[in-house]
């Protein structure tokens, strides 16, 4: 069931179109990620959902109701701020209780709900501490609890893991998933970290220059990027320059590329293929390419291989599983042929 609908949302700051006509439907209980580089309009979009910016045009429908004119304190939407924005003069418990006090709930109920959520975020013993006596990870949990305790229809998270170190980030990604599952609240997370979006989100929207580039599940976006930008932005991708000639796609080295898509005759483009879709030997698919090994790097379970090939200006990256690497020992400078299937090949015009 659709919870939130954006209809041609616009936000202009003077001549700058920060958000330029976005349509999106977000479902109930979904973990949704808005992914983009800085300046893509993702934060502005989030602030419009929270009510801190008014759209220049378009509609925001929550449960079918237009909410553009509703002030932030009247929306069943809560935001977890990037800086956490904890109230420094209030204790952890007071911070969390604040939003409930605004709803004028009875004292006893506020206390119960605060205690409950402190349990969930495992900060029960720190309830009396002030924010400046907490670690970064603890502050992050308090900020989450403060927004979550209000049981909003929609929880917005602005770069929620940005301030944490790498190890903690990994833990918190799973923690956020668990909490979202437990509460059954729709999460919209803003991030510039594609890995974070892939790990956590049910669906991802890629934004660029205020426009929606593609929206889909992590799998769809990873396997079927609709633009070169999306292909490049998510995961690692090899790009081989190609040109459509005589009804064929030819690389710079003259090899023929077979793919489901095609270009117009004479048009230039790129053939895109993921490193893990490339396999050693010339019989693993319709397409093949030969190059010299320029670098080898072990990453625990897999081996990363860089091939210098006349077909591409940049080294072609190949990811071999440990098993594959076992079957044939490779050395730097060795000439290697790799092949891949037509169905794993995407063609984008330049």
């Amino acid at each position: 069931m659709t919870l939130l609908s954006l209809r041609n949302i616009q936000k202009h700051f003077g001549a700058v179109r920060a958000v330029d006509g976005i349509d999106l439907d977000i479902r109930e209980n979904e973990f949704f990620a808005l992914l983009g580089a800085s300046g893509s309009g993702k934060t502005t979009l989030l602030r419009m959902l929270a009510g801190f910016e008014a759209p220049t045009g378009g509609e925001i429908l929550l449960d079918g109701q237009e909410i553009s004119g509703v002030p932030p304190n009247k929306r069943p939407v809560n935001l977890m701020f990037q800086s956490y924005a904890l109230f420094p003069h209030m204790s952890v418990a007071q911070n969390i209780a604040y939003g409930l006090e605004m709803e004028r709930l009875p004292r006893a109920e506020i206390k119960t709900r605060v205690d409950e959520i402190l349990e969930v975020i495992q900060l029960g013993d720190l309830a009396k501490r002030k924010p400046d006596q907490l670690s970064g990870g603890q502050r992050q949990r308090v900020a989450l609890a403060r927004a979550l305790v209000k049981r909003p229809r929609l929880l917005l998270l602005d770069e929620p893991l940005g301030a944490l170190d790498k190890k903690l980030r990994g833990e918190m990604q799973l923690e956020l998933k668990r909490i979202q599952d437990e509460f059954g609240i729709t999460f919209i997370i803003v991030t510039h970290d594609q890995e974070e979006a892939l790990v956590m989100a049910d669906r991802i929207a890629i934004l660029r220059d205020g426009k929606l580039l593609q929206c889909g599940t992590p799998h769809e976006i990873y396997e079927h990027p609709e633009s070169r930008f999306a292909a490049d932005f998510i995961g690692v991708m090899n790009f081989l320059p190609v040109e459509q000639r005589d009804g064929k796609l030819l690389t710079a080295s003259g090899d023929v590329i077979t793919a489901a898509d095609a270009l117009d005759t004479g048009q230039r483009g790129v053939a895109a293929v993921r490193p893990e879709r490339l396999h050693l030997g010339d019989a693993q698919g319709e397409n093949r390419l030969t190059g010299k090994v320029s670098a080898l790097a072990y990453h625990g379970l897999d081996l990363q291989l860089h091939l210098m090939s006349p077909a591409a200006p940049d080294p072609v990256m190949v990811r071999l599983t440990a098993g594959e690497a076992e079957t044939r020992r490779l050395a730097i400078g060795e000439e290697v042929t790799v092949s891949w299937a037509a169905k794993d090949t995407r063609i984008f015009a330049v």
């Binding site: 304190n73 009247k74 935001l79 109230f87 420094p88 939003g99 605004m102 009396k128 501490r129 002030k130």
Partner: protein, 284 residues
Amino acid sequence: MTDRKPLYLMSPALAWLTAFMVVPCLLILALAFFRRGIYGGIEYTFTLENIALVFDPLYAGVFLKSAGIAGLSALIAVIVGYASAYAIAAAPARRQPVLLFFAVLPFWSNYLVRTYAWIVLLNREGLIASMAHWLGYDGELPKLLYTESAVVVGLVYNYLPFVILACYAPLSRLNPEIAEASRDLGGSGWTTFRRVTLPMTFPGVATGFVFVFVLSIGNFVTPALLGGGQFQMIGNLVYAQFLTANDWPFGAALSMFLIAIMMGLLTLQTFATERASGTRPEAT
């Protein structure tokens, strides 16, 4: 560098401050405990009479009046000053330094001149009277100059820039996301101000209040010029002991009392600030 070299650099100034500030201040502290000589002057015998005299009901009236006027001035200055500082902090970032500069500029011009400006406005042939006349008002105007209100206006006028400065500092440091968080959690604009913005910026308010209060209660220029000498502040009382009544020990006791008020309020303020900002570790 070693720790000794800085001492060579600091010692001339520290010596100066010791000779012409620390020692004189200790001297009047001591003076407060000596007896007044019969013909003025000082008799070097220990007494608590001067201290007792400070709390004599005879002076209770002066103290209450002083405290009332100083308190009212400080309150008005803090309200107006906070509102101005808030408005400056809400202005576009590149305009804020200019606004602040012009808000504080009068503070650095002569105190007497600023007070005199109000005499020009308020006196019987002054600008306000002339305007009223020009507008066709022929009746008797209420007395403006030489009133308590004139003194309060003068004190607020003189110390307002200081309060603006004191309140602007914490307001400008405020992370805007914190006020937004309160709005997001359901707080109205007023609730957000009362429960988040004001408590977080309270140190500035308290500093402003303490300084206006202490400087007002110890003032003798404004009551003399705008109050026409009709009532006394503690400052006037101190002035009188040294320059007319020649009772220096009592004057010294009074000024110690002034310092005690200031220290007391500042301690209170520090305590309140620590509570507000949460820097004091809570027992957990």
